[in-house]
Assembly symmetry: C2
Homo-oligomer: 251 residues x 2
């Protein structure tokens, strides 16, 4: 039997609103497609619906831009109120050039606009990243396991990030629960007896990327189930994927 | 029916040697697992077996390090002969710090050691990236399609790269044939009528990352079949994934 991993898109979810019980909505939508969550599944949930459920939305019409936001608006041509929100979500600006603002978020993620996003929100609102995406993942995980007694799952909160050197965006993990976000080959040898050069794979990011293949941006598939991947069961945290500044050659 | 993508690992391939017909080996190994390549499949093939089949191997014992390689060896503690090979594969060194050498390869990829690798090769040999990974992908694609008349497939050559800001490595596409490596949302609106902020997904990189989930480093699964992903059929090239230097904030 071939080693096989399945990625199953979960469609048919309603528009998520603040306070919604995501685990219940996900289980119901999956069941509506004839899919039951199983032991060992990884649920990849897009940040956008997590932020909505957690009420991490800001109405730009009620934002008063600071002097710094106004200065940045003059430099970048962006909305000063949006920049005020971005600055509020940032520890610092890593690069600002040609209208692009790469921030280090309060969590430590390095991404454009500190993850503040106008798409798929509506009504002059913008969405912020979850306050603590690992906790968001853990809450969903606990709620799924409560409803499906006897199974253990992992949950990844994914977001769409750009990266240096390469064109295009990929989905990465910003929140992790129930699994180690990495897989280590440390100290192992390859079949020739060489110690392997590459020692750590960021499997949570690879799972987030794999899930994006069934998501698309417009097809309303905000959740994917990855089935058949033998992850390492552990508490886990997406913060383990953040390279400390002192070991980063590009910050 | 749920939207579903399958990732099928192809195990049971023999040790690849220079001159081997990879397409034949892949089809045979897949069939040995009861899997036939189908129309619309994406074959993700690890760089290592492509380099071996193409004889892109160097015996370090026959390398004479230049003065520059010796200087670099003194700075980094690495083998001067290995550095000579790395320099030969590089356009330039992007960063060199704490024993890490990030190069821009002759193809334009930015990665550690210009892709020169000692693992899984054996006998004092190192492997280089394929001379032209897009052509390597196209050759495999043509040979598969010749043997399986009437079907069209895409081929991705994958390699394991690190990245700034985030820990761990992920697999990315260094060669592409038969598909567009990106999926564009340019000019599309989300359900709220907003023009989407994220316009281009690097799907070839996401496919390479997804494939890694069934590969592992030691389990001898050098090929994965991704089935059910609706890619855009096109000539395609991994070079479309290289950000031009003038638009790169981190080079």
């Amino acid at each position: 039997m071939a080693l096989q991993v399945q990625i199953i898109g979960v469609a048919g979810m309603p528009e998520v609103r603040p306070g919604d019980d995501l685990a219940a909505l996900i289980l119901e939508a999956a069941r509506g497609q004839g899919v039951d969550i199983e032991d060992g599944d990884v649920l990849v949930v897009t940040q956008k619906i997590v932020s909505k459920a957690e009420g991490r939305l800001v109405d730009l019409r009620q934002v008063e831009p600071s002097a710094r936001a106004q200065e940045l608006a003059a430099q970048t041509g962006k909305d000063a109120r949006l920049l005020e929100v971005i600055l509020g979500e940032s520890r610092r600006i890593v690069r600002q050039e040609r209208g692009v603002i790469i921030c280090e978020t309060k969590h430590g993620f390095v991404c454009a606009n500190a993850g503040v996003d106008t798409s798929n929100v509506g009504g002059g609102m913008v969405s912020l990243l979850p306050e603590n995406p690992d906790e968001s993942a853990e809450r969903i995980r606990a709620a799924v396991q409560e409803r499906r007694a006897g199974i253990s799952v992992a949950v990844i909160i994914s977001d769409t990030f750009g990266r240096p050197w390469r064109e295009g965006h990929t989905n990465v993990a910003i929140g992790v629960a129930g699994m180690s976000p990495t897989r280590d080959y440390v100290g192992q040898s390859d079949p020739h007896g060489y110690v392997l050069r590459v020692s750590t794979m960021a499997v949570a990011d690879e799972l987030a990327a794999a899930a994006e293949l069934v998501m698309g941006k417009l097809s309303r598939v905000p959740v994917a189930i990855v089935r058949g991947f033998d992850y390492q069961r552990a508490e886990g945290s997406a913060r383990q994927l953040i390279r400390p500044e002192e070991r980063d050659l590009f910050r």
